[in-house]
């Protein structure tokens, strides 16, 4: 059995930030990631990020992935890539599948930074080829350079829906419309404006009724919704599209946390079932930490900062105190409250308040 001081599951923004801070404190760190390339969802993000300098604002996601991985690798953080954690046991033993090989790793501390998975939407024919999640569209286009269609309908106007629509247009794929069930655009207005000036309509109070086609998507029927979110008969519109992209939100990928018997709670504002964490991002299980989207759906900027806190805390627990532990902790908490204090942070603030009262 392989023994490691700290194992981090997931090499996205949260996991990489955690790895860097823990390694700086002198901890021996292993990151396990199911992909070949570190960075998680950042590697698909070709747009510039918001935030401040501390969260690498104005860099593109793909560039941030490189910055974070280089920083971690420079500190001799070990990486087990293309490996999937299958199980987690009470004595902090992880079982991992790497290719055909089944590996057992015993950790002194674990940080779970597995991120999130996309929510699905129920509608007629949603299993037709050509119905994609937004993450798949980004992987095809931005990682592999493959066009997912020639004319697509986007369902969902959160930041992901708006950004992916813009990226589709950049890739030369026409976006017939962005539809949004709620009466207001979900994402940032700057993203919406970027898309509108390309001539892409954004239609609020509208949902998808069915996908058309027999072997693959050949169209879509949408319908308008009233204030009670009920379909308004007679408002159906047919779009001729060969792809439908679903961007209706994310849920924390928290299975491993549940398996580790961490105390969990369903908090809608945080995206679903999340672990209950203390201020050091430790779960109810001593030595098991969680950070990033797995502990509540938010932006990559806050995931990085949370990862920093989890990395510092895990190192501290292992008896290795980062030379700037106190200053960094104060700074990170300040960054988080700053990132969350605006109108875009209402939901996350409400969700975190609910967690605090538990």
């Amino acid at each position: 059995m392989i023994e490691k001081e700290l194992v981090i599951i997931g090499g996205g923004p949260a996991g990489l930030a955690a790895a860097r801070l823990a390694a700086e404190a002198g901890v021996e760190v292993l990151i396990i990631d199911r992909m070949k390339q570190l960075g998680g969802q950042l590697v698909k993000q070709t747009h510039k990020f918001f935030g401040s300098k501390k969260q690498y604002a104005k860099f593109r996601g793909i560039e941030i992935a490189e910055i974070l991985s280089e920083a971690a690798l420079k500190l001799k953080v070990e990486v087990l890539a293309e490996a999937v954690v299958l199980g987690i046991y009470p004595d902090k033993v992880l079982t991992v599948l790497k290719g055909e090989e089944y590996i057992k790793i015993k950790a002194q501390a674990i940080i779970i930074a597995t991120g999130a998975s996309e929510k699905v939407l129920a509608f007629e024919n949603n299993d037709l080829p050509g119905v994609y999640g937004a993450g798949a569209v980004q992987t095809l286009m931005n990682v592999h350079g493959v066009r997912p269609g020639s004319r697509m309908l986007m369902v969902g106007s959160g930041n992901i829906g708006l950004i992916v629509s813009y990226q589709l247009m950049q890739a030369g794929i026409e976006v017939a419309a962005v539809i949004e069930a709620s009466p207001q655009i979900g994402g940032y207005l700057v993203h919406a404006a970027k898309l509108r000036r390309l001539g892409v309509p954004i239609i609020t109070s509208c949902t998808i009724k069915k996908a058309l086609g027999s072997n693959s998507v050949q169209g879509a029927i949408t319908v308008r919704l009233d204030e009670a979110w009920q379909e308004i008969p007679g408002t159906e519109t047919t779009y001729e599209v060969d792809g439908i992209c679903i961007a209706v939100g994310l849920s924390p990928l928290s299975n491993l946390l549940a398996m580790a018997e961490c105390r969990m709670k369903y908090i809608g504002e945080l995206g679903g079932l999340v672990p209950i964490l203390d201020s050091s991002y430790q779960t109810s299980q001593n030595g098991i930490f969680a950070c990033g989207d797995v502990s509540g759906i938010e932006e990559a900027s806050s995931a990085m900062v949370e990862g920093g806190i989890a990395g510092l805390s895990a190192a501290h627990l292992l008896g290795k105190v980062h030379p700037q532990y106190d200053e960094l902790l104060i700074d990170y908490k300040q960054q988080l409250s700053n990132l969350r204090s605006g109108p875009g942070g209402v939901k996350i603030r409400k969700g975190l308040q609910k967690m605090e009262t538990l």
């Binding site: 935030g51 401040s52 604002a57 104005k58 950049q170 009466p183 655009i185 207005l189 700057v190 109108p343």
Partner: protein, 153 residues
């Protein structure tokens, strides 16, 4: 705008200075988001956000030199520079599509809903971190309408 993504004419006008004899940055950042590269990239501290990242940027047009550094710093592509040149307006805008415009070409001028409103003469193309900054000349009456360009078919 929350329903359509299109700002009202009043909202657009409120982003412009009284005079554009000299080039000035026009910042269309219509809501509070946690973001400040415009302020930190401005070499003359004409743009302020302050300690709270969420505050909307404020611009001091007396200080702004219209240098355009903020154009490619803004992750939201919400900044352009405008300047009066006789009967025309010179706009410097961010642009992230292929093909790259060529100097001397006439492209279509677009409004904030992507409708064609006239022509834009490509004057200069600056490549900065993959977000191009394109200088164009458009007729003066498009001042509050013009926002972007599209290649004619």
């Amino acid at each position: 705008m929350r329903k359509t993504g299109i700002p009202s004419l009043e909202a657009i006008r409120s982003c412009f200075p009284d005079t554009l004899v000299k080039p000035k940055a026009i910042i269309e950042c219509y809501e509070e988001i946690p973001c400040n590269p415009c302020a930190t990239s401005c070499p003359v501290q004409a743009i302020t956000i302050g300690e709270d990242l969420n505050k909307q940027p404020r611009i001091n047009f007396d200080l702004c030199t219209g240098c355009g550094i903020c154009i490619s710093s803004c992750p939201g592509l919400a900044i352009m520079v405008a300047e009066e040149v006789g009967e025309q307006i010179r706009f410097k805008i961010p642009y992230e599509f292929l093909p790259v415009p060529e100097v001397g070409e006439n492209w279509l001028a677009l409004n904030r809903q992507g409708e064609v409103i006239g022509e834009a003469l490509i004057e200069k193309v600056l490549r900065k971190n993959k977000t191009l900054v394109v200088s164009v000349l458009v007729p003066r009456d498009l001042l509050y309408e013009f926002i972007s360009i599209r290649r004619p078919k």
